[in-house]
């Protein structure tokens, strides 16, 4: 397992197995290889279109790198096993799609509350309910943010291509480890099943982060404290004789339940939020194209960011001063940057494969004098360059 100490062996193994170079692969496979490069050595999942190829790739590849694959009886058990494995020190993940993501919500909240690092890949498909099961969509933007109950922070990243999926999965693991928190990868069925060129790098090019472990017995006694002031407690893993107590109930810094004292709950939940808020540099990421002189701004994410870029390039050829803003970490939303960009432009188009979700985040950060319009499409077919271009021309 890739926890400090046995990296040299793992690096030799990965070099032997995965020669650097260009490969033709599905987005789901790119996610899987990203996970393995990041050090993921435990996967539990349940079959669901369009995420099943992640399970299949992990089932085939994990044993080669001394990793564990389990197919559980349902999605609820899958994320439960992932949390259990994470407390033994294994970097762990699961992958699913909308219906399975709904089933995982309770235990996703448990992972937030118990500060358990894990990666949950949601390959978004067209809903609600069974919907168009085999078709991609971007309808889970807010399920990722607010799917589990109660006040909670969440981090979600969203890749825009197969290549990006490889790197963003690695980044998701690194954020999860650094902040001791679950991280959602909002992927989608279009990119998951698209085969395209993905460059597999040498493992040396990959930055790999590890969770903080207790430096001494004192730190181990406070699995939910904040000894370093960064909001991130060291994680006293199971099996080391620490007698760690972990509960999803409101708990004190020593882990013991106290559900009666208002201050205990207040302190815990506020620290969980502060941990995310004060470590923005760990996770905030966005891309900008032509934003310097833009009068019109297209905001897009995930699969739709690609035709959006195509449309922006075409519009630029036509002399339209349009730029593109692509949040790569979509939760927490890069609001400060959005506010700054919003002050420079007169119109904003938010293009996404849903009936308007990220646009609600954008709306929170721009003034009323900016024309704000959604470019939306549902039905399982991605937005095209022409469709977005038409809307850009419409506000030009």
């Amino acid at each position: 397992m890739i926890i400090h100490g046995d990296e040299p062996g793992q690096i030799r193994l990965i070099r032997k197995l995965y020669r650097p170079g260009n490969y033709f692969m599905q987005g789901d496979e790119a996610v899987s290889y990203g996970a393995i490069f990041a050090g993921c050595r435990f996967y539990a999942g349940y079959p669901i279109t369009p995420a099943s190829e992640i399970a299949e790739t992990m089932a085939r590849e994990l044993p080669k790198v001394s990793g564990y694959y389990i197919q559980m009886e349902d999605e609820i058990g899958s994320i439960a096993a992932v949390v259990g494995a994470s407390w033994t020190g294994l970097k762990s993940m699961t992958a699913t799609s909308g219906p399975g993501f709904s089933l995982m919500q309770e235990n996703l909240g448990y992972a937030v509350m118990t500060e358990t690092p894990l990666v949950l890949v949601d390959v978004q498909r067209s809903g609600p309910s069974t919907g168009q099961a085999t078709k991609g969509a971007q309808g889970d933007f807010f399920q990722a943010r607010w799917g589990t109950h109660g006040d909670h922070p969440i981090i979600a990243v969203s890749p825009t291509s197969g290549q990006d999926a490889f790197w963003e999965t690695i980044r998701a693991f690194n954020i999860a480890e650094r902040l001791r928190t679950p991280v959602v990868v909002l992927f989608d069925g279009v990119l998951a099943h698209t085969r395209e060129l993905v460059r597999i790098p040498d493992i040396e090019e990959v930055e790999i982060a590890y969770r903080k472990l207790p430096a001494n017995e004192e730190e181990a006694k406070l699995p939910f404290g904040d000894p370093h002031g960064d909001g991130v407690p060291p994680m006293p893993l199971f099996g080391h004789g620490y007698f760690t107590h972990v509960t999803g109930s409101t708990h004190k810094e020593n882990g013991l339940r106290d559900v009666y004292t208002p201050g205990v709950h207040d302190k815990l939940v506020r620290r969980l939020h502060r941990k995310i808020e004060q470590n923005k540099s760990v996770y905030e990421k966005y891309e900008e194209h032509f934003s310097d002189d833009a009068e019109i701004l297209v905001v897009s994410w995930g699969v739709t960011a690609r035709p959006a870029l195509g449309a922006v390039l075409r519009a630029r050829e036509e002399g339209i001063k349009v730029g593109l803003f692509v949040p790569k970490t979509v939760h927490p939303f890069p609001g400060e940057r959005m506010r700054k960009l919003g002050k420079r432009v007169r119109a904003i188009l938010v293009s996404e494969m849903n009936l308007g979700q990220m646009i609600l985040e954008v709306e929170r950060y721009v003034n009323d004098d900016v024309a704000l319009k959604g470019v939306n499409k549902i039905g399982g077919v991605p937005l095209t360059v022409e469709e977005i271009l038409r809307e850009i021309r419409g506000v030009a």
Partner: protein, 284 residues
């Protein structure tokens, strides 16, 4: 008063003192189960550092977590066994124990119970069956006897109880036994065996909840419930000769299975060896 009792309890070293006293009601069978488990651990000389205890939600989930001094994982409702599966895969050399209730493990979590038994993953489950959802106020459970009164069957229960041990034995567990809190020594021995057996093991403990179950079913004293267990317990050998209608309302006690079957984490690690051998990755 409480402090004196704890200081006299010979197995106090296995408990988290700062978490005591327990939140369990007077007369609850949970204390008997905790004591039996501590005795089994003591009898086998298991170092608590080699134990991980996992539980779900409900009164019985509180028996060991946080009170037992080991690594303890108090999880969501019904999912303890699934969490424990991940723990066991990560720590195959540790003993992973689930202690929780009937509503938790056989009601909402029944799917995980059956599949963990099928997988034969080396987890010991101590399932405390008190026939009722106690913590939420005494609602009918999947184990409530036919005809019993609960807060959600105020007239009578028209459903039939799940036979947990029989179901888990049929699903493929390595070891299954059922006792009641009136059979403490047998219970301790069975927990010891369950902890020793390689594979999925279940010890179902019929336990009294005088507050939420007994009170509404003419057994408001804990002792009355224990006498009810003793009167209606039928050893497995005798039960095999009885007709189904004669066994209605009885508690069949004893060892249901004790057998060797390939165990999941063993097979998983063997598989990894085979794959690495096949691809020439050994020694990397």
């Amino acid at each position: 008063m409480a402090k004196e009792i704890y200081s006299k309890y010979p197995l106090i070293k296995y408990l988290r003192r700062e978490a005591l006293p327990t939140a369990l009601c007077p007369g609850c069978g949970g204390g008997t189960v905790l004591n039996a488990f501590a005795n089994a651990v003591d009898g086998l000389k298991i170092d608590p550092r080699d134990l991980v205890v996992v539980s779900g939600i409900g009164c019985s989930a509180w028996i060991a977590s946080p009170y037992f001094l080991a690594d303890t994982l108090h999880t969501t409702h019904g999912r303890a066994i699934a969490f424990a599966t991940g723990v066991k895969v990560g720590l195959p050399d540790k003993k992973v124990v689930v202690i929780s209730g009937d509503g938790d493990l056989a009601g909402i979590g029944g799917n995980h119970l059956i599949h963990a038994a099928r997988r034969n993953v080396d987890i010991t489950v101590i399932l405390v069956n008190n026939f009722i959802y106690g913590m939420t106020g005494g609602q009918v459970a999947p184990t409530t006897p036919f005809g019993a009164i609960t807060t959600t069957t105020p007239y009578r229960n028209i459903e039939h109880p799940l036979q947990i041990s029989e179901t888990v034995a049929a699903a493929g567990a390595s070891y299954v036994a059922r006792w009641t809190t009136a059979h403490v020594y047998q219970l301790i021995e069975s927990i010891k065996k369950a902890l020793t057996v390689k594979g999925f093991s279940l010890v179902e403990v019929i336990s009294q909840c005088p507050v939420q179950f007994g009170r509404r079913n003419r057994m408001k004293e804990p002792a009355e419930m224990l006498r009810w267990f003793l009167r209606n317990s039928v050893p497995l050998a005798k039960a095999k000769k009885m007709k189904p209608e004669e066994l209605e309302g009885k508690f069949v006690i004893g060892e249901f299975v004790n057998r060797e079957r390939p165990e999941f984490t063993d097979e998983l690690n063997k598989l990894i060896d085979e794959v690495q051998e096949h691809f020439g990755l050994k020694g990397e």
